[in-house]
């Protein structure tokens, strides 16, 4: 059951072929259907009440293009604050938590005419690569329900892959949009840091977090990204730039562009099937007029440890507000202040969150601060410089695998955090450098979806998505 694309849905609603509420109702029906079998997908933690969702804006065409998402159902990761649905971050700590305000990206998608289908499952607070670290149970990969959808935005990726919604919002701190997009066979975009407001995105690692979009096609991911982009005075790290025209440049192609393939991303140890998909993708880009070049990003091998030191350090501070004093879990038996903290946090946080808070606290501690946090900051600067040198050398895009493996079976890596952390090996560098990246379906490996990742210089989302569109077209995706 493939629903119409977001572009097509919005067109039909605007011209009055379809009532504005109908696409949402159909999406809700598909969501319930997906969870009805013996192996429920469980993409959603909560679903919208269509009567209430209808209140958000009219969707008739006013001739000014005011409602680019008219009637379009959008799945929203449950770490983005919404007024009408709980915002849990898949954490016991925030079970039932209602935000008194709405995230900027949610307000913008509603203002564009979009309809929130529901809040999607994730690894608790975005910490994980499989969506198994959810306090409310894992999400299954719609392409193979015995396998994980990737993570942390696994619910959003699954919602799109299952055809429930044509597009979805996620957040990407170290690959949390791109990796599940690859594992579920959909498109996932992480924009430039600062392109999209983080106001109302529950922080995991503030200097790395960025809201991203999923689409069944590059066009749908681009359409949603356009609607949520642009400066937000409530986020001091959001750039003072207008929302870019992405959809209008999708068919620009790659003629004359230089595509670099970094040696460090196609090591000898890489799964040969994945290597074959990347080789095929590069041939398609070359056929479309791009020049392919081997390049080197020498500091790549430090990226995963650098990422985990920084992300956990920031997380240890960002998650300090979950203290049981003002909201969320408050252990009833705790009396003294210290007991309130200890009991509430012990009850509220899952093991991976606890592990990362401990790691991050350690990395910032007196005596270790410079050795871990300080050094990681310096390496981060070197990783960003690697990219700048490649761009300065005339390279327009980089082509890499998104994930070193396809979707793995549920439970396979649950007890091995390091192998789980290595899932992010090709994705964390874009977050460390703040540059945009997109994962596009690039065929299958071992009978499972495989994703190709394209990266570009900061603020180059429009040409980046045009390159992604070129790949999509030549790989037989959306025509």
């Amino acid at each position: 059951m493939t629903p119409p694309s977001a572009l097509e849905t919005a067109r039909r609603v605007r011209v009055g072929e379809v009532p504005a509420h109908r696409p949402l109702e159909e999406a809700l029906a598909r969501a319930r259907e997906a969870d009805s079998g013996s192996r429920p997908i469980h993409a959603f933690l909560s679903l919208s009440d269509p009567d209430r969702a209808q209140e958000a804006g009219v969707s008739q065409d006013d001739g000014r293009g005011s409602f680019p998402l008219a009637g379009v159902p959008v799945a929203v990761k449950d770490n983005l604050c919404t007024l009408d649905l709980p915002t849990t971050c898949a954490s016991r700590f925030l079970e039932g938590y209602r935000s008194p305000y709405e995230a900027t990206v949610v307000r913008r998608l509603r203002a564009a005419g979009g309809r929130v289908v529901g809040k999607t499952n994730l690894d608790e607070f975005g910490m994980g690569s499989s969506t198994e670290n959810s306090a409310f149970g894992p999400t299954r990969n719609p392409r193979d329900p015995s396998r994980v959808p990737g993570g942390s935005s696994g619910g959003s990726a699954a919602a799109v892959a299952a055809g429930i919604a044509p597009c979805a919002l996620g957040s990407d701190t170290g690959g949390s949009v791109r990796q599940p997009a690859a594992l579920c066979g959909v498109v996932g975009v992480k924009p430039t840091y600062g392109r999209v407001s983080r106001y109302g995105l529950v922080a995991f690692a503030s200097s790395l977090d960025q809201v991203g979009t999923f689409g069944a096609s590059v066009a749908d991911a681009a359409l949603l990204l356009e609607a949520i982009s642009g400066h937000d005075p409530r986020d001091s790290t959001s750039a003072r730039l207008p929302a870019p025209d992405l959809v209008g440049h999708l068919e620009d192609g790659v003629a004359g562009k230089v595509v670099g393939i970094p040696d460090e991303y196609v090591p000898d140890t890489l799964d040969p099937e994945i290597r074959a998909r990347i080789d095929e993708a590069s041939r398609h880009l070359a056929a479309a007029g791009a020049r392919i070049r081997r390049v080197s990003l020498p500091h790549t091998r430090y990226a995963v440890p650098t990422y985990y030191v920084l992300a956990t350090a920031e997380a240890s501070s960002n998650l300090a507000r979950y203290d049981g004093v003002r909201f969320g879990v408050r252990s009833p038996e705790a009396r003294a202040t210290q007991e309130v903290y200890e009991a509430s946090r012990s009850r509220g946080f899952g093991p991976e969150v606890v592990r990362r808070i401990i790691l991050g606290t350690f990395g910032l501690s007196a005596g270790y601060h410079d050795q871990y946090y300080g050094r990681a900051q310096r390496v981060r600067a070197l990783i960003a410089r690697d990219f700048r040198r490649v761009w300065a050398d005339g390279v327009d895009f980089l082509l890499t695998p998104t994930s070193p493996t396809p979707a793995f079976p549920l439970g396979e890596r649950s007890d091995d955090p390091v192998s789980m952390y290595l899932s992010d090996i090709f994705t964390v560098t874009a977050n460390l450098a703040g540059i945009p990246a997109v994962s596009v379906p690039a065929g299958s490996t071992h009978g499972l979806p495989c994703g190709a990742q394209l990266l570009s210089p900061a603020w180059h989302e429009a040409p980046l998505l045009a390159a992604a569109r070129t790949l999509e077209r030549s790989l037989g995706g959306e025509q």
Binding site: Y97, Y101, R198, Y199, T237, A320, R321, R326
Partner: protein
């Protein structure tokens, strides 16, 4: 032995809105009514820097001669406390807004003795909320209205040597902050908070020994007393062959003693790191210059000018420049009383005007007395139309009636018939009456009891109901008493 003291002063800036959100703080508002997702630290909320706070902090820093850094960085100071909603305080650490200030402090208003205190740094940070322990039995209540209010922390070098110097320094700091108009400087409401570091060492030695930190200092005199107690405690320890331990002590105002804070709270590792939600604060050279040019004349400069331009004694200049509104009032009176005697104006402002303010518990500028009104009164006196005594009466009426503006003095003079009588004939009549009524005193005066001059003056003034020109009375009295004097 001598004491070595450094102070950390937290100054609440009088911005309209909080440091990182748009809430408007108000002292005494109902608990938890001046809050929003940002200062409550709700999931997903983000801070946005208030530029007004940066400007006020720059004003303060420039007022103390600091160098403003073109780039400064907000960091997170991580610790758990119920009134700290995010679990960290946004402050500045490695790269503060300003450093390297210097303050010349005078020991008293007319003291020629000054000493220098170096200001190590001034940085911006957000205030925490308040934990209230006595509202609900066995529980701690939390009020987050104050959370996120902008503070400047001003750290001095350990350049102070005695509690008296500390007091003089604090008075001077407060005076300058008031001149700069950056803070309410109200210790009771917590808009000025002081912590002290103190150690002792042999007099003249350059070393820095183990210090203790004093907290819970709720008034300037409390700071002074706490330091006296703590210095005495350290002296006694050392005299007994013991050593001073590094610890944080709380001043107990009621018991007039210090007691150690729980060591758990003392040995914190704050795990500072740059706040990734806030880009570095960049201030342009032009902005710094703009703020520098907007600074008012500061108290010490004004004091010197008052001495040079108005010919005031050091004491008068010190009193009149203690508060900027008082100095402004005085200068406005002098301006309006063009050609008048500036010292005479100072006498009036420091004498009867300040006395009236003290009696009514008001500040001079809020008495309802306008500088023009007072200047007109001074003109009436200097022109001889009223005498000083009637002038005081008119001043009291002006303040009491709340009409202290232009024209008021003359109107009251007319209405109350207080204008001075200089008519020699009428004065002569009162003099004759008085001499006739007190023949004994006349005899005693002529017998050499010259101090009776005052008695005769008083009697004549009484008969004139205070309106006679005292100079004329004295002149006529002199002639009459001398005229009949035996040779």
């Amino acid at each position: 032995m001598e004491a070595v003291i450094g102070l950390e002063i937290h100054v609440q800036l009088r911005t309209r809105e909080k440091l990182f959100c748009a809430d408007v703080p108000e002292f005494g508002a109902d608990p938890n009514t001046r809050v929003c997702p940002v200062c409550l630290g709700l999931p997903g909320a983000l801070p946005v820097l208030n530029r007004e706070a940066v400007e006020l902090a720059m004003r303060a820093a420039l007022g103390f001669g600091c160098t403003i850094h073109r780039r400064s960085v907000f960091e997170r100071k991580n610790y758990f406390y119920p009134d700290l909603p995010k679990g960290y305080q946004i402050s500045q650490f490695e790269e503060p807004l300003a450093t390297d200030g210097l303050l010349e402090v005078r020991m008293g208003d007319d003291s020629p003795e000054t000493f220098r205190v170096r200001i190590r740094r001034m940085h911006l940070e957000e205030d925490a909320g308040k934990s209230i322990h006595d509202r609900v039995p066995d529980r701690t209540a939390v009020d987050l209205n104050r959370t996120g209010t902008p503070l400047v922390e001003m750290v001095s070098e350990p350049d102070l040597r005695s509690p008296a110097q500390v007091r003089a320094y604090l008075d001077q700091v407060k005076r300058i902050l008031e001149y700069l108009d950056v803070s309410d400087c109200n210790m009771e409401e917590g808009s000025l908070r002081v912590d002290a570091n103190v150690s002792i060492r042999p007099r003249g030695s350059g070393e820095l020994r183990t210090k203790t930190e004093l907290k819970n200092l709720n008034s300037f005199s409390g700071v002074e007393r706490a330091l006296e107690v703590e210095i005495a405690r350290q002296m006694a320890l050392v005299a007994a062959g013991d050593r001073v331990r590094h610890e944080t002590l709380l001043w107990d105002e009621r018991r007039q003693t210090v007691r150690p804070m729980r060591s758990k709270e003392d040995s914190q590792d704050y795990r500072y790191f740059p706040d990734p939600d806030l880009p570095p604060v960049l201030v342009s050279a032009a902005w710094i210059e703009e703020v520098r040019h907007s600074l008012p004349e500061l108290p010490e400069a004004r004091r010197t000018r008052f001495m040079e331009v108005y010919g005031l004694p050091a004491y008068d200049a010190g009193v009149l420049t203690a508060r900027r509104p008082l100095a402004d009032f005085y200068e406005a009176v002098v301006q309006a009383h063009a050609g008048g005697d500036a010292k005479e104006a100072a006498n009036w402002v420091m004498g009867p005007v300040l006395a009236l303010a003290n009696t009514s518990g008001e500040e001079v500028e809020s008495l309802g007395l306008e500088p023009e009104g007072l200047a007109e009164l001074l003109t009436l006196v200097s022109d001889g139309r009223v005498n000083r005594r009637a002038g005081r009466t008119i001043l009291e009426r002006m303040v009491a009636s709340g009409s202290g503006g232009a024209g008021a003095a003359e109107a009251i003079m007319e209405a109350e018939g207080l204008s001075q009588i200089s008519d020699g004939g009428r004065i002569q009549g009162w003099v004759e009456e008085v001499l006739a009524a007190h023949p004994d005193e006349v005899t005693r005066f002529r017998g050499g009891e010259r101090r009776l001059q005052g008695f005769f003056m008083g009697e004549v003034m009484k008969r004139s109901r205070g309106k006679a020109d005292p100079g004329e009375v004295a002149r006529i009295l002199g002639i009459r008493l001398k005229g009949d004097a035996p040779s």
